[in-house]
């Protein structure tokens, strides 16, 4: 198991509502991991905890308990500088969250330059290269508000790539897009997957998950209730909850 990039052991996350004090147990013991170059799609009903699981990996959400290691380092320990981890484990959001006050170029170069990983010139060159890769080289000096949803998400992916991450975390990257724009984003992700990027993908795009993922995690009520290759999970699901979920989703 030495080629594991991320390992998760018994991850719990409990939200406490501030006003009423009631507890909401979103993750109830998740243990899993991802190998270098592996693509894992996380599926499940809404509210099942799949996004929370992803957000715990880079500690966008603080885990309540459990251990997450990244390249062998325990990132849940107080000694860990999470900012260093996040440089190598970048996230792509459902709503893109491009920085609207910066041009596309600056969106890509802000972090690498501010963190002194590159000079502005190096970062500019890298930005151009990455934008070409997602097919948006001509938009380098454009303002984000002038881009379509699909273009924005492709820029957001390029922004994450600008950090040269070891892992990319996709949090429902196509859910906020108009249907005609989903394809262009999936194409970029497919190309990334083919190039060997390690990816966690929370998605509702079952077809894409089937096509790209090495492994499928089905999360339900805060636990991984079923796990396996796309063929196993999609074509021969064992758990009744998986069968029910897939029948609902695929019927649409």
């Amino acid at each position: 198991m030495n080629d594991m990039i991320i390992e998760v052991k018994d991850l719990h996350k409990t939200f406490i509502r501030k006003d009423t004090g009631t507890e909401l147990k979103v993750l109830q013991g998740i243990s899993t991991g991802i190998r270098k170059g592996e693509k894992i799609a996380v599926i499940g009903p809404s509210g099942s905890g799949k996004s929370t699981f992803l957000r715990c990996l880079n500690r966008m959400e603080e885990p309540t308990s459990g251990v997450i290691t990244f390249n062998g380092e325990d990132i849940t320990s107080p000694k860990c500088d999470i900012n260093l981890v996040r440089r190598k484990m970048c996230m792509v959001f459902q709503h893109f969250h491009l920085f609207p006050h910066l041009t596309v170029r600056k969106n890509l170069t802000l972090a690498p330059v501010d963190l002194k990983l590159m000079t502005q010139d190096e970062a500019d060159a890298r930005a151009h290269e990455l934008l070409s890769r997602v097919g948006l080289a001509d938009k380098i000096d454009e303002w984000p508000d002038r881009l379509s949803g699909g273009q924005k998400q492709r820029v957001a992916i390029a922004r994450a790539l600008a950090m040269n991450p070891d892992v990319l975390l996709f949090d429902e990257p196509t859910s906020a897009l108009d249907p005609e724009m989903i394809g262009e984003v999936l194409d970029v992700m497919k190309e990334l997957a083919d190039s060997g990027m390690t990816m966690y993908l929370v998605t509702h795009e079952m077809g894409f998950a089937h096509q790209v993922a090495d492994r499928i995690l089905f999360i339900d009520k805060g636990i991984i209730s079923e796990e396996g290759t796309p063929d196993e999970v999609f074509d021969h699901p064992k758990q009744p909850r998986t069968i029910e979920f897939l029948s609902k989703v695929l019927r649409r």
Partner: protein
């Protein structure tokens, strides 16, 4: 909370209207003051105008007063922005999970005390109590401090509103790239918040400009006080004050015009 200013919605009051308004105002005053254009009254008006502003270069008193007003306003503006920025970041950071409860309590107390007491009272306390024995300190600096710290409390609330109006996803996106909380604030949140609050900030500074007119109370010959000094000199009541009012108005209209330009410049790239 809506962050749009009233200013940005006032349409159509361009340079022409401003000029027209000014000319109209002054004409109206002339009309009133000269007893509707009898030759005698006109001559009297001219004589008094000469007495008030021209003789012995008395207009220089207004010029010096204006300098003091502008100096105090700009100084207080700088302090106000810095203090306001610090206070608002403290409060937002505390809310966002940075463990600074004491600083946060201080910021809250500061804001409620300085917003809860009249600027006039604060000015007097600064001058006659806190800096009672600091006699070699230029009184204008005390005024700048008093007005600046007072303004800071208002600016803090403006900034806080501006920061909180930014989508939390912006902070997440910046943090997810490995940027620290401070860097994310500085490069991502504050520039956007600033853009949102520029009109409100300008309104605050326009208010501040007018508020400095109480500085005469602690012995500063600002624009208002300069008008009063001319009054005492010539024993003329209306002309010096109306002139002072017109000068204030011109500055305020100019600043209003400026903020509109600034807004347009800031919103480049927005609204395609």
């Amino acid at each position: 909370m809506t962050m749009k200013s009233n200013l940005s919605h006032q349409k159509g009051a361009g340079r022409g209207d401003i000029l027209l308004g000014l000319v109209g105002l002054f004409l109206l005053y002339l009309l009133y003051d000269s007893g509707f254009f009898t030759a005698e009254a006109w001559a009297d008006f001219n004589r008094r105008f000469y007495q008030n502003f021209v003789k012995d270069s008395r207009y220089m008193m207004l010029v010096d007063g204006l300098k003091a007003t502008v100096f105090m306003t700009s100084g207080a503006t700088v302090i106000g922005v810095i203090v306001g920025l610090i206070l608002s970041v403290i409060r937002v950071a505390y809310k966002g999970g940075v463990p600074i409860p004491i600083l946060n309590k201080f910021a809250e107390a500061y804001i409620s005390v300085l917003r809860g007491t009249p600027a006039m009272v604060q000015l007097l306390i600064w001058n006659f109590t806190i800096f009672a024995s600091a006699r070699d300190l230029n009184t204008q600096y005390i005024a700048i401090l008093a007005f600046g710290l007072n303004s800071g409390a208002y600016v803090a609330e403006i900034f806080r509103g501006g920061i909180e109006s930014i989508d939390p996803g912006q902070m997440e996106a910046a943090r997810s790239l490995g940027l620290s909380y401070g860097s994310s604030m500085r490069h991502v949140i504050l520039p956007q918040a600033l853009r949102n609050v520029v009109p409100m900030l300008f309104n605050e500074f326009i208010a501040l400009l007018k508020e400095t007119s109480i500085a005469g109370y602690i012995g500063i010959d600002d624009l208002t006080r300069a008008g009063q000094n001319i009054q005492a000199l010539t024993l003329e009541h209306s002309q010096p004050l109306v002139m002072v009012a017109i000068i204030y108005l011109i500055i305020v209209l100019f600043l209003t015009h400026l903020v509109r330009k600034l807004e347009n410049w800031l919103s480049r790239g927005k609204r395609g």
